[in-house]
């Protein structure tokens, strides 16, 4: 046995103290953070979240057979926990597996919602980059892709939280200075001051749903909601056995009948037509002014003759009651000069819609044409050609205010370039290797 072969390892030199103390402390702190972050940065978590995301998007699509897009949006995607009805799965069976079209299953089960999945993915992504961050050529692409994705998620978050969407219907030769949010309602109490001025107090929808007595110094009377219907029909002949709650106004002659909400991104673009029975009380007393039926059906202001306000007189002053889409008044107005609806020869298939409008602001006037795929952007709002009023009597413009609108554009460029770079680099390397073989 050759003893010289036995060697001992020299003891490790004592740690040098070249590095300043705070750097060392920082590095230990960093390694601590890394330890905490590493489970969050796991790629396995990413994959699991992708599975959940796929399931959620799929279920959220199925749900649109029965529920309105906006309901689905708030119940599935813009929420922490989504409650998914079993009926959504039955719908799938009905279309693809021959389940009877009359099958009904009640009940629902919880599932992680869009905010939760998106949030975890975002944390996961940020943690992964914090733990594994390296600035090399090879990783540039990935970095671009992921920063683009973060921007996109932020964009969706900003849109979800801050974007406002509304409609501006303008009949030809009319001028309109407000935007309607057709998804939100208000009970407007209007006092006609003079030809140019109205005094408006509006009660938001959330108060109406509570069915409590609503009192406010600005209100000329107290309002109690007896019945609230999110979607309804108005009928002259009440179904047998139905009790008419109204004691005053047009509700004496016509009744509102509740019906289910409009489902899906319905192509007919029908809105829910809410109605409510409201009892009015003389301010602070128990003296009733009558129960009125108010309905969105009676707030169609853009067709002359269809608007049907309910009149209430208190202390000699007459107020008009409207249940209508929530309005936001703008500092500028739009006047519709001409609306065009071109069709393909010999058919009713629309070829193009366009609105020639005069935009009037305090200090200037501008004539613009808004048409399909060519919106107008003005003072933070964007106007899109969206629809037609009745028989081509006017236009419906979609008005959107979204502070995050630019983010998807930047994100798209970042991610696409990132992928091109990353996959392109891999492809080039691969091809070079193949050529060498």
């Amino acid at each position: 046995m050759n003893k010289t072969a036995i060697q001992t390892t020299p003891p490790l030199p004592p740690p040098t103290h070249d590095q300043p103390l705070d750097v060392r402390e920082a590095s230990t702190a960093w390694s601590m953070i890394k330890k905490i972050l590493s489970p969050l940065a796991s790629l396995r978590l990413t994959v699991v979240m992708f599975v959940f995301a796929i399931a959620l998007v799929f279920l959220g699509t199925l749900a649109q057979v029965d529920e309105g897009i906006w309901t689905v949006l708030s119940k599935y995607f813009r929420t922490g926990i989504a409650w998914i009805p079993f009926q959504a799965l039955v719908r799938f069976g009905q279309v693809f597996l021959g389940v009877s079209p009359h099958a009904q299953v009640s009940g629902s089960f919880p599932f992680p919602g869009g905010w939760l999945i998106g949030g975890i993915l975002l944390v996961n992504l940020l943690a992964a980059h914090a733990v594994r961050f390296k600035l090399t050529w090879k990783r540039t692409g990935i970095l671009m892709i992921h920063s683009g994705l973060v921007l996109m998620m932020l964009g969706e978050l900003i849109t979800g939280l801050f974007a406002l969407e509304g409609r501006m219907p303008i009949p030809e030769n009319w001028t309109v200075n407000f935007v309607e949010d057709h998804r939100a309602l208000e009970l407007a109490i209007v006092r006609h001051v003079d030809d140019k001025t109205d005094d408006v107090v509006a009660i938001p929808e959330s108060f109406l749903r509570k069915k409590e007595r609503i009192q406010h110094p600005d209100l000329p009377f107290d309002v109690e909601v007896l019945q609230y219907m999110p979607n309804s029909d108005i009928n002259r002949n009440p179904p047998p056995g139905m009790e008419n709650l109204a004691t005053a106004g047009d509700g004496l002659r016509e009744v509102a009948i509740e019906k289910p909400e409009v489902s899906g991104t319905d192509q007919s673009q029908m809105d829910d037509m809410a109605s409510a029975y409201v009892k009015l009380w003389k301010k602070g007393t128990n003296e009733s002014l009558g129960t009125f039926l108010v309905s969105k059906w009676w707030s169609v202001w853009w067709i002359p003759g269809l608007e049907q306000p309910q009149h209430v007189t208190v202390d000699g002053t007459t107020y008009d009651l409207f249940l209508r889409s929530k309005r936001a008044y703008k500092p500028y107005s739009m006047h519709l000069i001409e609306f065009r609806h071109d069709r393909y020869m010999g058919t009713d298939t629309p070829k193009n819609y366009s609105s020639q409008v005069l935009l009037r602001d305090s200090d200037r006037e501008k004539e613009v044409i808004i048409y399909m795929n060519h919106p107008l952007r003005y003072s933070g709002d964007t106007f899109f050609q969206s629809g037609v009023l009745g028989k081509d009597q006017g236009t419906i413009l979609q008005v959107v205010r979204n502070p995050g609108w630019l983010l998807p554009y930047v994100s798209c460029i970042l991610v696409s370039c990132g992928m091109l770079f990353h996959f392109g680099l891999n492809l080039v390397n691969f091809l070079i290797r193949r050529m060498k073989i």
Binding site: G60, R91, E165, Q267, N373, S416
Partner: protein, 583 residues
């Protein structure tokens, strides 16, 4: 051997000859009726001027599911001939041949019972067989339409469908009232029906020559007066040429395109490529493989020509996809390109095989989708933008294509793995690599395409993402591809797992392509179709089958193989590497 060197050339030449033969225009007999000439007469239908040939073929396709009629004596009758029979059925000798033509395809048992018809092979019936039951049908249709759409069952849907076909038939039969075939006298004017032109003539007191000519052509056809028919037709065509209407400039080309049926020819040739590619696996690999490849290249060229021809006809350059039909033929085109590139990089035959399968299958699907009507129809206003159609739609559809190619490679991988029990197949690793590469490509395309769609939506109605079913479908594909890639990078799956997941990707893509449209909601909800729903279910079941096969441990296969081949000296494929090294 010299023959093996020239085989690819021979096969390619045979393919080219076949195509040229099919492209030869048909000629009318000198003394017979000039049907082919009449086919080039323009008519405005569904918002665009088209030749009568297209109207005839599309109508027959919608009603009957094919572009010809088989007469009682077994002879085939052309769509043009049938259309003229229908158009003149109200004035012709009674009963008209149109009444006897077995064209209405009715497959549903209950509908057949309702109309007191006995099921027969092909399920095609003549109108005279059930014309006395039309009232009954009308009642059922009214009842079906009064049901909310979600509660309509198959019988309701089939009744409504048949009523739609009858409506189309009646419009054709009352051609003078419904078909706008009288051209304007000057470019830019309106096309009129014969009746409208007649009323106008009475009002203005000026003779409308083209209206008179068309009326004579139709009445002489009804009377069987071939001479007058041919003469008037020639005069009318001369007149039409003199008008030089810009909307009729592509009419003749469209007739040629209809006659050539390039997508059907390509489908036939892809089947030939499939046969060659399969034979190449069995033996004489190189010459047969090269033959399959070059035949596929020639077919691809025609496929591409046909896509561009459609763009020329629609006057929308680089807009490949405008409806489900065009998405099918475009997916086929894209898939063949990707597969042939794979074959160039790795000439192991799998690229040829998949090119043939995907090309033929997508064109076959496209052929059936054509039964929904005019495949070159005009677009709704919001879709009428070439920029976004050319970028977003092409990109996202190409994303579908790449995902399908990856999925089919996954299926191939699973088959290779099973066959590997019996024979040594080192190529399986190459297939695994292909899946990875194509998935990267698919992720890039589907992501970019989806986001471009979002930007279009932002441009057109101010909402980047609307959670519409079709948008969600595209998002699902992106998520699925991202999932597979991340699962690979996380080490959760290796080649086999990736192959299985890629097959799942096929299911997702199937959902996105056809499934979302079947829900009947959303802005992209075009083309609901019972057959499609059933077809999609079957597709999903086959994919599930592959997934199960992919998940079964190889040991089970080996035991099974040993049971099959107990007497083999070393057992089935004794020298195989253990699965771990491969998968």
């Amino acid at each position: 051997m010299i023959f093996s060197r020239f085989l690819p050339w021979l096969i390619a030449a045979a393919g080219a000859t076949y195509l040229m033969m099919m492209a030869m225009p048909s000629k009318d007999p000198v003394n017979g009726i000039h049907l082919a000439e009449f086919a080039t007469i323009p008519v405005v239908h569904d918002g665009r001027p088209k030749p009568f040939d297209t109207l005839a073929r599309n109508s027959l396709m919608v009603i009957s599911g094919r572009q010809y009629v088989v007469e009682n004596d077994g002879k085939e009758k052309s769509a043009m001939n049938w259309l003229l029979d229908v158009m003149t059925s109200q004035v012709s000798r009674n009963p008209s041949p149109a009444d006897k033509a077995k064209v209405f395809r009715i497959e549903n048992d209950q509908v057949l019972d309702l109309l007191a018809l006995a099921p027969r092979s092909g399920f095609r019936y003549a109108i005279e067989e059930f014309s006395d039951k039309l009232e009954k049908l009308e009642k059922e249709v009214d009842k079906a339409k009064s049901n909310p759409k979600k509660q309509q069952d198959k019988f309701d849907a089939e009744c409504i469908e048949l009523a739609r076909h009858l409506e189309r038939y009646i419009q054709l039969a009352r051609a003078t009232e419904f078909l706008q075939m009288v051209p304007p006298e000057t470019p830019g004017g309106d096309w009129l029906t014969i009746r409208e032109a007649f009323v106008k003539e009475q009002q203005d007191g000026e003779e409308n020559k083209p209206m008179r000519a068309l009326a004579t052509i139709l009445s002489s056809y009804a009377k069987g007066d071939i001479r007058t028919f041919n003469q008037e037709l020639a005069t009318y065509q001369q007149y039409l040429k003199g008008l030089q209407l810009p909307e009729t400039r592509t009419i003749e080309f469209e007739v040629f395109f209809n006659h050539f049926e390039p997508f059907i020819q390509c489908c036939v040739l892809y089947v030939c490529v499939f046969v060659l590619a399969c034979l190449a696996f069995l033996g004489w690999t190189k010459p047969l493989g090269r033959s399959a490849f070059w035949l596929a290249v020639i077919t691809l060229a025609v496929h591409m020509w046909a896509l561009f021809a459609r763009m020329y006809l629609m006057d929308r350059w680089f807009v490949f996809v405008t409806n489900l039909y065009s998405s099918a033929v475009f997916i086929g085109f894209g898939a063949v390109i990707i597969c042939l590139i794979l074959e160039i990089i790795y000439p192991i035959g799998i690229g040829n095989l998949l090119a043939a399968v995907l090309g033929a299958v997508t064109l076959y699907i496209g052929h059936h989708l054509a039964s929904t009507g005019d495949t070159l129809h005009q677009l709704e206003a919001v879709l009428d933008t070439n920029l976004w159609l050319a970028t977003h739609v092409s990109c996202v559809t190409f994303g579908y294509t790449a995902t399908f190619v990856a999925g089919f490679l996954g299926m191939a991988y699973i088959v290779y793995r099973m066959l590997g029990v019996f024979v040594n197949l080192p190529e399986i690793n190459i297939v695994g690599k292909m899946i990875y590469g194509i998935l990267c490509f698919a992720t890039l395309l589907s992501f970019t395409g989806t986001v471009l769609g979002g930007i279009w939506a932002d441009q057109s109605w101010g909402r980047f993402w609307g959670w519409d079913p079709k948008e969600n479908g595209a998002l699902l594909i992106v998520l699925m591809n991202a999932l597979i890639l991340h699962a690979r990078w996380a080490g959760l799956v290796k080649q086999r797992g990736m192959a299985v997941l890629a097959v799942c990707g096929n299911m997702v893509t199937g959902w996105s392509w056809f499934g979302t449209n079947q829900l009947g909601v959303g802005l992209h909800a075009y083309g609901f179709n019972n057959t499609l729903a059933t077809g999609l279910t079957i597709f999903w079941l086959t994919q599930l089958g592959f997934i199960v096969l992919g998940l079964i441990p190889l040991k089970l296969f080996r035991n099974f193989a040993q049971m099959l081949m107990p007497r083999t000296a070393n057992g089935p494929h004794a020298q195989r590497k253990p699965e771990k090294q491969l998968a």
